[in-house]
């Protein structure tokens, strides 16, 4: 693969740095002390999510990262791995438990996600920011109690527990922010 140089830098560019794949999240032209031009770059590690800053000399070469994202549908769990299907080619991919990790909490069956491939191996998934899920189990709240800040746990199909207001009942559909794991609003009643 031909290399990039600093003039190719743009948000979302995928490059290798210190042996790991990164994506550019911010960049800025700087020229210290009337000297050489640099591109001050902020990069996010696609495997760990960690963020680093690098001052790259203008003209410095960058190795492209062999990463690709595919839109896939999560079908079911089979043993220690999760099975995903490419909705256009019907190709299937098995992704192990450790790679999915805590994302499984907000990954109900049939959900469509972005799967990240690095060197042709699935290394992670990006969930949609919000999901709507039915409350499978929750204790009844006290009637008439509208005090804010008081919550109870509610379980969704993945087994995850979300803190919800007391007025939420089993069978209600709730909207959840997958990034924070927080209840946002009720979108359907039982």
């Amino acid at each position: 693969m031909a290399s990039y140089d600093t003039s190719d830098i743009r948000k979302g560019l995928k490059v290798m740095m210190d042996g790991s794949p990164f994506t550019v999240i911010e960049f800025q032209f700087v020229k210290p002390g009337k000297g050489a031009a640099f591109t001050r770059t902020k990069l996010k590690n696609l495997l760990t999510g960690g963020i680093i800053d690098r001052n790259l000399r203008s003209g410095e070469k960058l190795e492209p990262a062999n990463v690709e994202t595919k839109t896939m549908q999560y079908l079911y769990k089979e043993g220690d791995s999760y099975v995903f299907m490419d909705t256009s080619t019907y190709d299937q991919v098995h992704i192990p438990d450790e790679t999915i990790g805590d994302d499984s909490n907000f990954m109900p069956e049939q959900i469509v996600v972005e799967v990240l491939f690095f060197n042709d191996r699935a290394v992670g998934v990006t969930l949609p920011n919000f999901i709507e899920q039915k409350v499978m189990q929750t204790d009844p709240g006290f009637r008439g109690d509208t005090a804010t800040g008081v919550t109870k746990p509610a379980h969704i199909s993945t087994g995850a527990s979300i803190n919800v207001p007391l007025f939420i009942n089993e069978g209600d559909t709730i909207k959840i922010d997958t990034r924070s794991g927080e209840y946002l609003e009720r979108v359907g009643r039982a």
């Binding site: 800025q28 032209f29 020229k31 210290p32 002390g33 009337k34 000297g35 000399r57 410095e60």
Partner: protein
């Protein structure tokens, strides 16, 4: 955003800019300076290693700074001159850079670097007062280093430090100025900075400067950085007590590099040697090689001891308005023109 809306948002900055310009002109007049205008389209634009001039037809280029002609004026008998003019530098485009920008450049014959520093302190105060931003200005987060609480005190005297002190304090490097490139690379790597295997002395210098030092400059209060290594001061005279450094300072304030000052080199023989060396480095790096300015070299023989300085006017306006981008203080950024 359509142009009317864009300009409506810029209007307060344009008013501020005009007020600052008038106030700064008043300062120079009171100090006995003559305002001059020198050519923009020249045969020999500035040939500093990292500047690229824009071609202007007929073998000429647009100036990267008015320095050469202003020095010829000084040599011709004008002791205190100032110019407000556009400078042009190819490929410079960022939050603090535009390919076309406004410089204030002035020269004091028989003057000292201390006098130029006092000029800077006075001009910053005048600019701040002109927009009611005295004595403290906000520093937006894009310009804040790691060590600033978001406000900058502009009262004189500003902080003073040297390049060697900065390298010592923030990178643990004892900088000489005449190290071999390989030695410099080793020093930088030990300081945790990544440099290429063929990095030249100045490449390494700037990498360390950017990685380790710049975030600490001009936060809290403006800072003069004095005594630059000779390879980075081609037009400056060497310090009497240390030939490895030159009489040069840079002013940093609120994350902005504001001004660059020299005790001017007036020895035409040494200046020619430095021009030739620089031209060769430009040739090696594939940069355009401009003709050496023979008329300047001829005039240098008549030039009395002089100190000169260039200050970025747009950045001065940015500083006192607390602006995040140079675009915020321009009627038209280059892509809006």
């Amino acid at each position: 955003m359509d142009e009317r809306a864009r300009l409506a948002a810029r209007t307060p900055a344009l008013h501020a800019r005009a007020a600052i310009l008038r106030a700064v002109r008043g300062y120079f007049e009171a100090q006995g300076f003559v305002e001059v205008e020198t050519p923009a389209r020249v045969m020999s634009p500035g040939q500093e290693l990292h500047l690229e001039a824009l071609p202007a037809g007929g073998g000429r280029h647009l100036i990267t700074s008015p320095e050469y002609h202003m020095k010829r004026l000084v040599a011709g008998g004008l002791p205190r001159i100032v110019q407000f003019c556009r400078c042009f530098r190819a490929e410079e485009d960022g939050p603090f850079h535009q390919p076309e920008f406004t410089m204030v450049e002035w020269y004091r014959t028989g003057g000292t670097m201390d006098e130029l520093m006092r000029d800077c302190e006075a001009i910053v105060e005048i600019a701040a007062r002109a927009v009611g931003a005295w004595p403290r200005v906000p520093v937006p987060s894009i310009r804040r280093g790691d060590y600033s609480d978001g406000a900058l005190a502009l009262t004189a005297p500003f902080e003073r430090t040297t390049v060697r002190e900065l390298f010592h304090d923030h990178a643990g490097i004892e900088l000489r100025g005449d190290e071999e490139a390989a030695t410099m690379r080793g020093l930088a790597q030990r300081a945790g900075c990544q440099v290429g295997p063929d990095a030249a002395w100045d490449d390494v210098f700037y990498q360390v400067f950017l990685d380790r030092i710049e975030a600490h400059l001009g936060c809290g209060r403006p800072t003069f950085v004095l005594d630059w290594p000779t390879p980075l001061g081609a037009l400056a005279r060497r310090k009497a007590d240390d030939p490895l450094t030159v009489e040069r300072f840079e002013l940093y304030a609120g994350g902005l590099e504001l001004a660059n000052a020299f005790g001017e080199l007036t020895d035409p023989i040494e200046q020619r040697a430095r021009f030739v060396e620089e031209a060769e480095l430009r040739r090696q790096r594939g940069s355009t090689v401009y003709p050496i300015d023979e008329k300047l070299l001829e005039a240098l023989g008549n030039m009395p001891p002089t100190c000169g300085i260039a200050l970025g006017f747009d950045r001065l306006v940015m500083l006192v308005l607390g602006a995040s981008s140079i675009r915020d203080v321009l009627a038209f950024a280059h892509d809006e023109a």
